[in-house]
């Protein structure tokens, strides 16, 4: 089992406010976290608010500064240490990794057409040479995400949450990345649509050979789609392992509390028990 992303002793801190003299107090969002994300896996990162899961996801994509620790990306043919990338390395890294966001409304620029939104990463990284090539690629990826080609000309405000999320996914996959961080990407969607998006992600994972880091607070969703799960609490990973194992036999008290808190659909049973 080779790791695509290897995190070692990562610490991420944020300064809280400003001070006239001396350093401001800091918040350690991620404390000395180590994690291995296997290539080709659907890796779940679970935690409540304040657990640091979003910060960890962003740190891996170098979207927040790292205070201490090492993150390595190794897809078999290309390897680099994320904290110390050169500009050229970073360009390549950006074409290989992407993120899907939680809020389908804030994640898409209201002033750009759907086609332009999906094409942006291609244009920025200069991966296509002509406009026709970009258009062809956009149509291809839009088709895979089941976006109606008619919709490419329209603006995001015309679409529902679920459709916008599909546009977000298409944008993330336009450059053909190998690693995608999905940050609570179904949390804002209705239940009937959630299932649809999750199925789409699983299918894309198989057809495009992707590795997902799936960040969520919703354990039942994670239980269904992820192969591995890491549970975070207050900046630390308290438990991790294959999904079925964690859900059948949680060892850490926080994991047990999390599982016990899921309300059961059976009125005569307090919480959902996993068999």
């Amino acid at each position: 089992m080779t790791s695509l992303v290897s995190v070692e002793n990562l610490t991420v801190t944020f300064p809280l406010g400003q001070r006239l003299f001396g350093a401001p107090p800091t918040l350690r969002a991620v404390k000395n976290v180590s994690l291995q994300i296997p290539k080709g896996s659907f890796f779940g990162l679970v935690g409540e608010s304040g657990s640091g899961k979003t910060t960890l996801g962003r740190a891996i994509l170098k979207a927040t500064p790292i205070e201490d620790g090492k993150i390595t990306y190794d897809d078999g043919s290309w390897k680099c240490s994320i904290a110390e990338m050169s500009k050229a390395q970073e360009r390549h890294f950006r074409s290989q990794t992407q993120m899907i966001f939680q809020d389908p409304y804030a994640a898409l620029s209201p002033r750009m057409t759907v086609r332009d939104i999906i094409a942006e990463p291609l244009e920025v990284l200069g991966l296509t040479k002509t406009r026709e090539e970009t258009d062809a690629r956009v149509r291809e990826i839009a088709g895979k995400c089941r976006i109606n080609l008619e919709h490419l000309r329209r603006y995001p405000h015309a679409f529902s949450g679920g459709q916008r999320q599909r546009i977000s996914i298409a944008r993330a996959l336009a450059t053909g990345p190998k690693f995608v961080v999905a940050d609570e990407c179904v949390a804002a969607l209705d239940v009937s649509i959630q299932a649809d998006i999750l199925n789409l992600l699983k299918k894309l994972q198989h057809t495009l050979d992707l590795t997902f880091l799936f960040i969520s607070h919703d354990l039942s969703v994670v239980a269904h789609v992820c192969d591995y799960v890491a549970v975070m609490y207050l900046g630390e990973i308290v438990e991790e392992g294959p999904t079925k194992q964690i859900f059948a036999n949680p060892k850490h008290s926080y994991t047990q509390a999390l599982l016990g808190a899921i309300p059961s659909l059976d009125p005569d049973q307090r919480s959902r028990v996993v068999r």
């Binding site: 239940v191 009937s192 299932a195 354990l219 269904h224 999390l258 899921i262 309300p263 659909l265």
Partner: protein, 328 residues
Amino acid sequence: MSLLSVDNLTIQFRTDEGLITAVENVSFDIQPGEVLGLAGESGSGKSVTAKAIMQLNGHNTVYDPASKIVLHGDPDIDVFSLRRERDMLPIRGGAISMIFQEPMASFAPAITVGKQMVEQLQVHTTMSKSQAKELSVEMLDRVGITDPGRRFDQYVFEYSGGMRQRAMIAMALTTKPRLLIADEPTTALDVTIQRQVIDLMKELIDDFGMSILFITHDLGVIAQTADQLAVMYLGRIMERGPVRNVLRNPAHAYTRGLLNALPNLEDLDAPLMPIPGDIPSPLERPSGCVFHPRNAELAPGSRYETEVPPMTEVGPSHFAAVFPEDVR
């Protein structure tokens, strides 16, 4: 004798794009001491329905003249007959209290929590300030806020998320309402805090004996708290009945679809089954049964495309919007 009866409630909104129907022919009853769960996704009209009971919808709201909301008691109050804002006063916060999804939005940020609670009591009761304070501190304690005396004098931003929700519940219950309307009270909370708030609400139901109209999209939360369940889709009630019956023997395709779309923790390998299609825009309401375009079980050209099915009895006190010949 029910506590609240809602009959043929139809609500439309005047917008730039025309008249949008948010709620259509919704009828239900809430018995004293009962918890009715109103479940639905976005666009189902559940929040609009709740706000209609408190007359909190905006000025562009059009209520159909056949709609009736009656709060039974001595005397019966027909909510739509109350012409003036101040006639609603004894109801809002008095006989009926409401709590919302975002507690931060319910408390004024620049006034201490205690002051707001006392103010509410002074509006609805003849208590003196010190009596009101005593009752408020007692309620804060009752909802599980530690050190309630100190918390009374704090501002809402000094409270954590779960505490704010508890404070909102405390404030809603000080006036001993007969009906509590809870609009997505646990949706914004972490799952462990949600568990605590659900347990708290169940205790309070036992203590206070009030009825609750519990609005949420989370069927698990409803299963744990409600006695009766009504499922709404696109402004209509699709199914209604005792919670065990509806969840265990769903009679309407939408209820079945919702339950199937939920991740099932019993079988982690089972695929997730979404409901096909998307929730239509409110400007494009389907004819007949509003759910028919997404109902995979229907054959094309069925009755449901053109006719609105009646609420048919499918079990004891259990109704669904299906034609009698389709009852399983």
